[in-house]
Structures are given as C-alpha cells and as structure tokens.
C-alpha cells in the first residue's frame, strides 16, 4: 500500500480542527466525526498491513536519520484505530452554545491528532512536539467546565505538565548531546556505545518523569484526582483513557529500543508498584465516585508500568492487554459517573432509578477487578504469569502487590455496588436526585460494554494478534533495519 497515507492520520484531524470554524454552520458538526471516521478507516487498513510487516514513511523525501520518520507497526496502528474510535465515542455532540461547542470540538480534534502523532512518531523531537500539543489541548479541555474549582485544578495541571515537558526536554537535550541524533532507530543503533552509562540513564529517568505526568506515574500524578473531579466526564475519560496510554507507549518505545537496561526496568517496576499501592488505597479512601475512579486509574496505570517492566514480548503483551482493557473500561465508567457525580451517600438507591446504568457499572467493575470470563481477568492473568516467570525477587514482590491491590479494588468497587443496590440510606432527598444518565452517556458506555463483551467472547482469537504485536514491538533490531536499511555504514561513520 501507499505509505504516504500514514501522514493523513495526523494531518486529517489537525486540518479538521483548524478548518472547523470556517465551515458553513450547516456542515460544521459533521467535520470532526468525518475526519475521525476517516482516521479510523485508515487505522484499520494500516493495522491489517502492518501486522505482517511494519510500514515506514520518510517525510519530504529526506532520508533518516536526518529526515523525519513515521513508523507504523501493529501496536502503533492499533492505537491510531483506538484513538479515532474512542474520540468518536466521547465526541462533544451538543448541549452547549455554538461558539463553545466549536472550541471544544476543535480542541478534541487537536488532542486526537497529537495522540496519533505520538503513536507513529519515529523521532524524539516530534514526540516532544506532539506531547506538548496533547498537553495544551488537554489544558483547554480541562478548563472547559468553567467552574472556579476547575480553573484552579487546571492551573495546577498546567504547572505540573509544563514541569514535565521541561524535564523531558532536558532529557532529550542530554541524549542529543551524547549522540547527535534524535531518530529513534539511529539512537537504538548508537545506544550501546554512547547511552548505556549514568548520563544516558539520567536522560531516560528525566524523560520517564516528564512523560509520566500524562501517564499518571507515581510522584507526578497529583493533578489527576483534582482535574478528573472538576472537568467534564467526557474530558476525564479522554485524559484517563487515551492520553495516558499514548504517553505510556512512548516510554515503552524508548525502553525497548534505546534503554533495554535492567536499571531502567527496575525504575519502571518500582514506580509502577508505588503507583499501584498509592492509587488503589487512595481510591479505597475516596468518598466520591469521580475521585475514586481517578485514583483507581492511577492504580491501573501502575499495573501497566509493572507489566511493561517485564523483559521480552511476554511483558509487552501483558502491558498492552492491561492498557487496552483500561482504555475500554475507564472512559465508560467516567461517562456513567457523570450524573451520579457525587458522594457515595448520594448513590443510595441509584440502581432503582437508573437500572441500565447500574448494570453497566457492575459489568465494568467486575472486569476491572478481573472476574474470569471478562477481559480484565486475561489482562491480570498475563501480568501475573509474566511476573511469576521472572527469577528476580522484586518481580515476585510486584506480583504480591498486584494481588493485594486487587483485593482492595474489589472492596471499594463492591462497596459502591452495595450502596447502589442496597435499601439503606435511600432517603427522600435522594429520591429527588436525577440519577438517570443522559442517553448519549448510556449509548457511549453501551458501545464500550459491547466491545468489552466481544473481547471476552473472542479472547482466544485475540491472543494471536496480541502476541504478534508484542513480538514485533520487542524486536529493536528489526526496527533499526526497517528505518535505516544501511545501518552498518551509519554506525561505522559514527565511530
């Protein structure tokens, strides 16, 4: 297939975002969904093509390592597809003044373009630029609910996010100082001689902390509960579901290609464990449903960090499974929580007032805990079996952490379910509350639920592509050979 089509997955949503205000108002509401549908179709085609062999696009005809590269392997194409589909499901259809709606739709499209850009970028500076683009778009969306609390939460998010970008930029500077290149394949080629030393590791930790702000890494995730509690449910769903996964994907690419070192893996493992413990216990203590979901999302991303720290394709497969599962479940839970949006006491009797919403909540909660036929079980199974296969005791400790936090997770989720279905506490004041979900939220989470159930039914069929994607992603040598066909001469010149 024509590889120049790859550029469209970034260009289409960006173009649509900036042309949207110019389109006549009759057609204006169609621009975004059409662009996203086109990206989804492209993602589907790319996924089919790249599963057998990764695709490379060198932009403008400049050859790498000088030119800019887009690299699409199975994982990148799958993320392009999910970015388009999830953005479409969380699309701001209406319910707002026209001017405001334009702004929200534009920002959502910019966010989608930045996310696809992060998935396909093959060099560090493009990663930095797309990361900043995603950051700025998410600041705009987070401030969009216009309450005073949202302004303060977004201010703190902006400051922490900028600090993260700054750290990432310093890390990239150090890498450039050592190697004189930003191309990931070229870096992978040069890394053993130039980057596998304390300075190189420092650069990796700086980038890890920097990108970790969006990936809700332990230490730099304090923005998450505040922003998710004050922003619209749709925005929280986008940030927790999509943006965090794309930042995580970039970290994993760096880990696999440039820094396949035990020290780097241990850092990921430790921070993941701390994130999982702090996130799940904080979720247990949370007394309103939005912050509970926010903390639980921090815990789940901790689990993904733990999984990606396992060396080899086994760890990548487990990490992908956890990330994709969380990508399906958490947006749906945020959509459901929008109208319930409050303290646990307000949920009493909610199951009677909105039976469908409550039933969907139970389904997602069960999958999040990891009850067998649901995909969450397979994700946790892959994680635990991967951890158990490692000889290092630290990995066994991580397995213990996963098991203990799963119990904590079950306790707080069942507590919510118990309150919703229970008879106690259903005061007359509660009966006055409007606990029914709007149709759009129900439809959105219904689609997520259908996808979840389909994944549960097709679990044996999904294992093969998942394994193939993980093998493809873990093969750093193939990445280098694909992007830089004449790699022997290059490393010869560098020495």
């Amino acid at each position: 297939m024509n590889t120049s089509l790859i550029a469209l997955v970034v260009a289409l949503p960006l173009l649509a975002a900036f042309l949207l205000p110019l389109v006549p108002s009759v057609l204006r509401r169609l621009v975004g969904p059409l662009a996203l549908l086109a990206v989804a179709a492209l993602g589907m085609v790319l996924w089919q093509a790249s599963l057998s062999e990764p695709l490379v696009l060198t932009l403008g005809g400049f050859r790498p390592p000088l030119g800019i590269v887009f690299y699409v392997d199975g994982v990148a194409a799958l993320f392009v597809l999910t970015v388009a589909l999830v953005t479409l499901l969380l699309w701001p259809w209406g319910g707002d003044a026209s001017e405001n709606l334009d702004r929200k739709q534009s920002l959502t499209l910019v966010l989608a373009a930045a996310c696809t850009g992060l998935a396909v970028s093959g060099d560090l500076f493009n990663v930095y630029v797309f990361y900043e683009l995603a950051a700025v778009a998410s600041y705009g969306l987070a401030a969009g609910s216009r309450t005073a609390a949202a302004q303060v939460a977004t201010f703190r998010y902006v400051i922490l996010g900028s600090l993260g970008s700054l750290l990432a930029l310093i890390g990239i500077t150090l890498i450039y100082f050592r190697t004189g290149t930003l191309n990931l394949a070229h870096l992978a080629d040069l890394a053993p001689q130039t980057l596998h030393d304390p300075l190189g590791l420092a650069a990796f930790f700086l980038i890890l902390l920097g990108l970790g702000v969006k990936a809700e890494l332990f230490l730099v995730n304090t923005w998450a509960p505040e922003v998710y509690a004050t922003a619209e449910a749709r925005v929280s769903a986008l940030l927790a579901g999509l943006v965090s996964k794309l930042a995580l994907l970039v970290v994993v690419r760096l880990l696999v290609l440039v820094f396949p070192l035990p020290e780097a893996r241990e850092a990921l493992l430790l921070l993941g464990m701390l994130g999982m413990i702090s996130g799940e216990f904080a979720a247990y203590r949370a007394r309103d449903i939005k912050r509970m979901l926010a903390w639980s999302s921090i815990g789940q991303l901790g689990a993904a960090f733990i999984a990606f720290s396992i060396p080899g394709p086994l760890g990548l497969a487990a990490g992908l499974a956890i990330a994709l599962h969380h990508l399906l479940v958490k947006p749906a839970l945020f959509l459901l929580a929008e109208r319930w949006g409050g303290g646990l006491a307000r949920l009493a009797g909610a199951a009677r007032r909105s039976p469908l919403g409550a039933a969907l909540f139970v389904l997602f909660a069960l999958s999040l805990i990891g009850v067998p036929p649901l995909p969450g079980f397979w994700a946790k199974y892959l994680l635990l079996s991967g951890l158990a296969a490692q000889p290092d005791n630290l990995y066994l400790l991580a397995g213990l952490v996963v098991l203990v936090t799963t119990v904590v997770e079950a306790v707080y989720l069942f507590r919510v379910i118990g309150v919703m279905y229970g008879r106690e506490g259903a005061t007359p004041a509660n009966e006055q509350l409007d606990n029914t979900q709007p149709a759009s939220a129900l439809a959105g989470s219904g689609v997520f639920a259908a996808l979840l159930l389909a994944a549960a039914l097709a679990a044996p069929l999904l294992a093969a592509p998942l394994g193939r994607m993980a093998t493809q992603m873990s093969d750093g040598a193939a990445y280098v050979a694909r992007v830089l066909p004449s790699t022997a001469t290059l490393s010869g010149a560098a020495q």
Partner: protein, 159 residues
C-alpha cells in the same frame, strides 16, 4: 568563545533550571510560580543552545555563492529551541489567564489557600464530607485535643 565563558554559560543554564524548579516547589504565589516556570524554561533553552555550540563556528546560514567549507554551529538544537520558546510562551500565557480567572473566583493568589477552597468546592459539589478536618474527624472518632491558637489559625486561613 573561551573555555571559561562556555563553562560560565553551562553553570548559568543549570543554575537557572535549579532556581526555577526550586521556585516551582517552594513558592505559593501563583504569579511567582509562573515566573519560576519561565526561569526554568530559559535555563533548559540555554542548555539546548549550548549543546549545539562548536568552537570558531559561524551561524548555520548558507548565503548564495558561499563555499560550504566553514564550520557551522549545529542548527538542529536552534530549531528545537525556537519550538520550545514558542510553546513555552503559549503555555505561560494560558497559565496566567487561568490564574486571573482563579483570582477572580477566590480572591487570593496563595496556592495553598486556593487549593483548600478548591477541595472544599469539590466536596460540596459531590455532597461528600471533607477528607480530614479538625472539626469532624473521619469515621466519627472523637476530636483530638487541639490547642486554641492552631484552631484560630485554621479558621483565619479559611476566612
């Protein structure tokens, strides 16, 4: 440029970054936080330019008819610095506009006071009890003994 000047610039860049990050962590005033951020960004940008520096090199601009024999400084870090500066300015403007709106809503620029108000607002919107309070401990436990000045200080901060 001498070795000494280069070293001074390097120390300056690292010092700016350290000052900025220190300021981010330590200041409570919203405006100072934004200023600290811009200091740190200036330091990072200076570091990035220094990485591309070459001794006795010319600016990376090719004029027509000029032979390509002169050593040039590395243009890639300069392009990156331009991008980083533009992004930094945009984000600072955004942060300041958010600070203005937050000031209009809460009437203070003190981050810790503002954060307490925000938590209270979130709790009130959710209809949940505040997480920890001197006045009503979680789980209905009895009040711990509190010295009178501390209680007064807490009340003063909330007012």
């Amino acid at each position: 440029m001498s070795e000494f000047a280069l070293l001074t610039l390097l120390i300056g860049a690292l010092g700016l970054i350290a000052l900025g990050i220190g300021g981010l962590v330590l200041s409570r005033n919203l405006f100072r936080i934004v200023l600290a951020l811009s200091l740190a960004e200036a330091g990072a940008n200076l570091l990035l330019v220094l990485v591309g520096f070459r001794r006795d090199a010319v600016a990376p601009i090719i004029e027509s008819g000029q032979a390509l024999t002169a050593i040039m400084v590395d243009p890639i870090p300069q392009a990156m610095v331009l991008t980083a500066i533009v992004i930094g300015v945009g984000v600072q403007a955004l942060a300041l506009s958010l600070a203005i709106r937050a000031y209009a809503a809460y009437g203070t620029l003190d981050m810790s006071v503002m954060r307490r108000r925000m938590e209270a607002d979130i709790d009130a919107a959710a209809g949940a009890q505040p997480a920890t309070s001197l006045h009503a401990p979680a789980g209905g436990r009895p009040l711990p003994p509190i010295s009178a000045p501390r209680l007064a200080h807490d009340k003063g901060a909330q007012a």
